[in-house]
């Protein structure tokens, strides 16, 4: 059986560019997502500095529009999404007892397309102006008439390319979870984080194509003078809002569900208790995913869709509070009577619960259509969605990073710095955004560049800015923690929290390339905990030790990302770059070259069979001996 295929195993930079290992791709996602998180955070700080006093002129009005657009777009698409994918890549295959994801090549392709899309979006800063029509890019503001420069083109093409990466990543995780589970790992034994990753991937699959169509239509409007959203050509601006939010609302649940998963894992581990109401948690996750597609028009209450539409979407939105409430109570009951340890991961998780409840409550307030006419476009809305996204998702990601850091890197993060991160970030967060509810109720509109003195906004804005600076300190403490930890010896045990319940804690930290020397046999929910309770030291293997087949590394995904990047730039600048021959524009030539790179790589991938290679038995035994 053991064929010795000679496959080059790269090292150094080449290893990272060609890797198809989900653990390394997870780290790549984390670095890229972390970088964009810092960029988006910097933009947020600049926004808050501009607003700290009335009639401030720290940045110009145009720059302010660019900042708020890029802050939203960057944080959602380029920071939150990849950080979620980082955790999913790092953890999901380990939790289901798999050696890799279903499509390792596609996994790497998803990362590189996301990265090049994100880079394309951000070079707009240096190419004559970033997008400035808000992260929702509403038509007709985003149309050619009102946004003549290339800012929105960068938005459209950058997100289109990044979106392709996300979509194929979602399909990859769906197939991985359906097909690659270890023997005995039935659906109702899957850890909660894997469940939420599964539902999130399904939402990605069904929501992102709608965004792709919307962006394509906007691109046609802008680059080829189509009339989708241009009323003078018979188009319909409200159609863009519909298409955007048919994607955009599920996107919100795409973001929050994995955070729910992280919180479930962390609270259960550090309470030393089985997750309360596991099956109701699964049910609630599915229900939230389903309802997420039926509430998009609550972003459009004031458009004037009529009482029937507003009533329907109002009720559907309020319904979501039911499964979410189930989750909140389940977390509380998991904590109830548990022997709780407040590690930094658990602090973030416990801090998440009340914070997210507050975001949820304002969500239900906004769901009441008549009341929404008052809150609409005010800082109340800004406060609401930062409570669910920062107070929900970002706290969840911080919790997950502290929890799984030893599994990803083999080093436990410093607890003192971790707690410092939590308290500065948590207090800073509430200081920044709690006060904004009242700013909104007082009537301060969102997305304004500055405000007059004497409106009663001054003190609250100042407090909000102070809070934002505190959050920046929280982030700096986290970065400091990463640096300090990276100088420590790589000696994290397989189960560093000692109360690990799921399969990822049964293998070394960080796991070897093949994850499981022997595929484990799963005998129940919380597979590892069950073995511990039955007095076993580890999992029962489901197979003898033998050579393990691995996929070969490939540079093609990287070049496919490059191809898309070049194609995007070419088509975008076609109107500016003049003609190559006759009517044929130079920009089109560049765009076609980019697409040829893409299709050439696809051709090579199809024609060259990937035989992969085997990791031989003696190498596995050596690894096992070394760790034991």
């Amino acid at each position: 059986m053991a064929h010795a295929h000679t496959v080059k195993r790269y090292s150094g930079l080449m290893d990272w560019l060609t890797t198809v290992d989900h653990k390394k791709i997870g780290i790549l996602y984390m670095i890229a997502g972390g970088f964009f998180f810092l960029v988006g955070g910097l933009e947020a700080l600049l926004i808050r500095i501009q607003l700290w006093k009335p009639l401030n002129d720290f940045v110009s009005a145009d720059t302010f529009n660019e900042l708020l657009t890029m802050h939203g777009t960057t944080m959602i698409f380029l920071a939150a999404m990849p950080l979620i994918f980082a955790l999913m890549n790092a953890v999901v295959p380990l939790q289901i007892g798999a050696r890799d994801v279903a499509f390792p090549f596609v996994n790497s392709l998803g990362f590189w397309t996301f990265l090049f899309g994100g880079v394309l979006l951000n070079i707009s800063w240096f190419a004559g102006g970033a997008p400035d029509a808000g992260w929702t890019a509403y038509a007709p503001l985003a149309g050619k008439t009102y946004s003549a420069d290339h800012g929105i083109d960068y938005y459209v093409l950058g997100l289109q390319i990044a979106g392709i990466g996300t979509l194929i990543g979602g399909i990859n995780f769906l197939v991985t979870i359906i097909n690659m589970r270890a023997p005995g790992m039935t659906f109702m034994r899957m850890p909660m984080f894997t469940w939420t990753a599964f539902i999130t991937s399904a939402l990605i699959l069904f929501a992102f194509p709608a965004l792709a169509v919307g962006l394509a239509a906007l691109m046609f409007d802008r680059l080829f003078d189509a009339n989708f959203f241009d009323p003078s050509g018979g188009g319909n601006a409200v159609l863009w809002e519909h298409i955007f939010w048919i994607f955009g609302h599920p996107e919100v649940y795409i973001l929050i569900l994995p955070a729910f998963g992280v919180i479930s894992e962390v609270i259960s581990t550090f309470s030393r208790k089985r997750l309360f109401g596991y099956s109701s948690m699964v049910f609630a996750t599915i229900l939230i995913g389903f309802l997420g597609f039926m509430v998009w028009a609550h972003h459009m209450f004031t458009v004037g869709l009529g009482p029937v539409a507003n009533a329907l979407f109002s009720i559907a939105t309020m319904l979501i509070a039911v499964p979410t409430g189930i989750k909140i109570f389940n977390w509380l009951f998991t904590l109830w009577g548990g022997s709780i340890t407040f590690t930094s991961a658990n602090l973030f998780a416990v801090g998440f619960v009340p914070t997210f409840v507050m975001g949820g409550v304002t969500g239900v307030m906004l769901a009441a259509a008549p009341a929404d006419f008052q809150y609409h476009d005010s800082y109340f809305v800004v406060a609401h969605f930062h409570y669910v996204i920062v107070g929900g998702l970002i706290l969840g990601i911080f919790s997950g990073l502290h929890y799984w850091w030893p599994k990803m890197f083999g080093r436990v993060l410093n607890e003192t710095l971790g707690k410092l991160t939590f308290w500065t970030f948590f207090i800073g967060f509430h200081l920044t955004f709690f006060i904004q509810h009242f700013l909104g109720l007082l009537g301060m509109p969102r997305r304004i560049w500055t405000y007059l003195d004497g409106l009663g906004f001054n003190e609250m804005n100042l407090i909000s800015t102070v809070g934002a600076i505190l959050m920046a300190f929280g982030t700096i403490f986290f970065l400091l923690n990463i640096v300090v930890t990276s100088f420590k010896p790589k000696n994290a045990p397989a189960d560093p929290w000692e109360d690990g319940r799921t399969l990822e804690w049964t293998i070394p930290s960080p796991p070897p390339e093949y994850n499981f020397a022997q595929t484990p046999l799963v005998r129940g929910y919380d597979a590892y905990w069950k073995e511990k309770m039955d007095g076993h030291s580890g999992m029962t293997p489901a197979e003898p030790i033998g050579p393990i087949h691995m996929p070969s590394p490939s540079i093609l995904p990287f070049f496919m990302g490059v191809g898309l990047f070049i194609a995007g730039l070419g088509f975008m600048y076609a109107p500016d770059w003049g003609n190559l021959i006759g009517w044929f524009k130079t920009g089109y030539a560049v765009g076609i070259i980019g697409l040829l790179i893409l299709f050439g790589c696809m051709f090579l991938r199809s024609v060259i069979d990937d035989h992969g290679f085997h990791i031989e038995e003696d190498e596995i035994l050596r690894d096992l001996g070394g760790k034991a």
């Binding site: 409200v238 519909h242 028009a297 869709l305």
Partner: protein
């Protein structure tokens, strides 16, 4: 995974009995439905809304036949395929309702 495997084996058994005959019947059925749709429009003179209903009905029927027989969705081991396509269809229906009722007023 064990469950998957038996499902594949069973679908194998069902395939063995199945010749191309069924596919030709599905083809004739599709041609017939297409013909009916074109004929309905050409004959004209019927109530507009009624024609719309007939046309959509014929299209849905034809797609159902093609997906069941040609894409093997009637066979075992296609549960996730059915879930995937139906979820997509569900979202498409909401999109169509949006386009018909909430885009203009």
């Amino acid at each position: 995974m064990a469950g998957n495997h038996t499902a594949t084996e069973e679908s194998t058994k069902r395939h063995k009995v199945e010749g191309p005959k069924k596919h030709i019947i599905a083809f004739i059925f599709s041609v017939l439905l297409t013909f009916l749709a074109f004929a309905t429009v050409i004959s004209g003179e019927i109530n507009k809304d009624f024609i719309y209903i007939i046309l959509v009905g014929l299209a849905v029927l034809q797609v159902f036949v093609q997906m069941a027989f040609w894409m093997h969705m009637k066979d075992r081991g296609h549960m996730y395929a059915i879930i995937g396509i139906l979820s997509g269809v569900f979202i498409v229906i909401t999109c169509v309702i949006m386009a018909e009722y909430w885009a203009w007023w």
